[in-house]
Symmetry: C2
Subunit: 452 residues, 2 copies
Amino acid sequence: MHLVKNFLLKPGFYDGWVDVEVKGWISSNRGNKKIRFIELNDGSTVKNLQVVFKGNEFDFDLLDQLKPGSALVVKGKLNATPNSPQPIELVAEQILEYKKIAEDYPIQGQEINLETLREIPQLRHRTNLLRSVMLIRSTLAQEVHKYFIARDFHWMASPIFTSNDGEGAGETFLVSDKNTNNAFFGKNKKATLGVTGQLHGESYAIGMNKIYTFGPTFRAENSNTKKHLAEFWMIEPEVAFYDLKQIIELADDLLKVVIRNTIAKHKFEIEYLNNLTNNELLPRLNHYLDTPLTIVDYSEAIAKLAEVKEIFENKDIKFGLDLGTEHERYLTEVIYKSPVAVINFPKDFKAFYMYQNDDNKTVAAFDLLVPGIGELIGGSQRESNYDKLLKRIHELNIDADDLQWYLDLRRFGHMQSSGFGIGFERLVMYVTGIDNIRDAIPYPRTPGNIKM
Amino acid sequence: MHLVKNFLLKPGFYDGWVDVEVKGWISSNRGNKKIRFIELNDGSTVKNLQVVFKGNEFDFDLLDQLKPGSALVVKGKLNATPNSPQPIELVAEQILEYKKIAEDYPIQGQEINLETLREIPQLRHRTNLLRSVMLIRSTLAQEVHKYFIARDFHWMASPIFTSNDGEGAGETFLVSDKNTNNAFFGKNKKATLGVTGQLHGESYAIGMNKIYTFGPTFRAENSNTKKHLAEFWMIEPEVAFYDLKQIIELADDLLKVVIRNTIAKHKFEIEYLNNLTNNELLPRLNHYLDTPLTIVDYSEAIAKLAEVKEIFENKDIKFGLDLGTEHERYLTEVIYKSPVAVINFPKDFKAFYMYQNDDNKTVAAFDLLVPGIGELIGGSQRESNYDKLLKRIHELNIDADDLQWYLDLRRFGHMQSSGFGIGFERLVMYVTGIDNIRDAIPYPRTPGNIKM
């Protein structure tokens, strides 16, 4: 309730008795025929406002019928009582409007498990847990925009429909249209949904200099995990003239500024979530924010991990290994005790567009690892040499015709650029501590699951 | 060039001689073997920075080869000369890096027509016109977020994949996936791309109170016009407890604040575009910003239009007419000489979810009309009565099963809400004065057109 938030976060905001009118939904309702305590929530925070009804002017039979979930508009006097258990409450004077909730309203308490809530995505944000997550999600997105605005980045909309296959990584969804016999975009023209905005984003970085995309991306991978969605949002900055070191600095700074500002705005939601995680969440986030990034070469990371290889499930630790979450977490949590950017990966498991180092074995890529979850960001300096890029496309059997426009950027002004991608729902998971990505987006889409 | 922008917009920002290093792309290059004037652009504004090369330390043959489009990093001294034709220029000291442009670079001057430029969406933002449009587009989007952030709105991601048909208006795209034999989301489950985020947005307004979506939406309408895209971005706020009057106030304020702030940030781009429109654009925008909104009942608008019906192509002006652009423009430009919100439309051509007025003929909808283009925003108060809503769904032969979750919101806490939608590219057209929507989005998608 924003009245409560203001009162608690801005001392002196209300003083003595203040006339107010509040609108919200009932979280709880207890009392008898002479006095009623109704907790009201207006969606602005997980904190409720207690509204007290007493006196002959109220219909206590009606008040008894206003079950949790009902809408209520009430006028009264705000009473700041900083020393009592409820530091602020509303003494009701008049009910202006209300709408009773139907009896079969499925959210009857806060003790519903997350799987059940996933069946009602249109209602679950009214629980304390999902409300906290979704408020933080909104603020994270808004802080991302604010971060880029303050640094003169231009927001750019990469297309959703694309005739390219993106990174060549991940299965794509096809688009059709019954009215044109699937030829909406032209005969023999394939239209898929973008798996990344990066390639188009690069075209805008050349000429616009500093751009970022923030939009939905799609993968048709038929796997049910806690970390994958078929539809998810990505943040993808791309900066002309930047090299690997500069783009890593941007990634580190972006994450820390956005997370710090979001935590500051969501004291109560973070407290609530922190309690749910037995006080693990907030110390983890604070440790992350207070610890400088360590940059480590992939080869060095492999050497360090090989020293303790027996503790891993995958013990085959040598140059060429695509690090698993267990390895990533060990690096950031145990070996370096800090966020870690691993750089210069073997080119074999990285995308075709990454800058090829002189050793002919590695690319100027980075993965940013954070304690608690492992990889949160992946990025790279881009290959700017036309011939090297074309050779790599051929080596990987990617259709060069499809990508001619992208290749041509290297002949048309692409001297150097770097960028990275953040899976936005992964970031929401990290900051809220929830462990299933289906709870990090309002309407999750996964194999077999498309509600509403 | 941000150096130029800073200098011109913030007097005293540079003074005398300042050492700088600049990175950008060459817009023009003239001179001889003894002196070179290179205009450099870094993507921050349509204004270029003139870089002067003179002296024996430069390779003038090389300089001659740096054609427009080439990338250049150069060190020098910034010389503020406020009283000369070039109020600021860079006297080059050293070329740090460069990359020559290939000979077949298609943007050889600024005189390319827009149709030709649409064939090269990956490059066209490097022309003054498209650069101006795309910079303004980015700022409009960022100002929209800032507006909502400042007013405690929560950003909400409506799903792109949906099993609903949205408003029942407009053809939808179908999604398939070759690997699961088109059953990615389950057998007999239809997955389409959302035509609106509104219905899902409403679910979040109940509980979150003030939300907005800002994401891509899709229409598979096989029509080629200057005003339609198959993929476009929509801004859709939804506010619980708001009635029609309140939501119109929000729409009016949002538009004016966002446009005012955007113009203030893009003095040079607006000047450039204003010149292209023979000084029509800026006066039109300023008139719009300075003129209060007129709210007029649909019936009254019809009566006024009927008085002059002979001037219209469609002269059949009576209750029931779905206003055309010619009527809309006449209302806002001639009759009321102000932005106009037409309210209380006949229910027959409006969507099922709109609040049904007591007259049983009209709905509490509004269209916001602006001089120069007509409708820019459409919205309404929502019907909150379950039975009335269901009856309307049946009358319109919409599948009620699909929408049961939406209907149920009326039993589960939906006392009142209102919202509207802005087609973002229409807004870009309005503020930039361009007349084809294909030039308002980086990679336009229309029937037969899916480049990259």
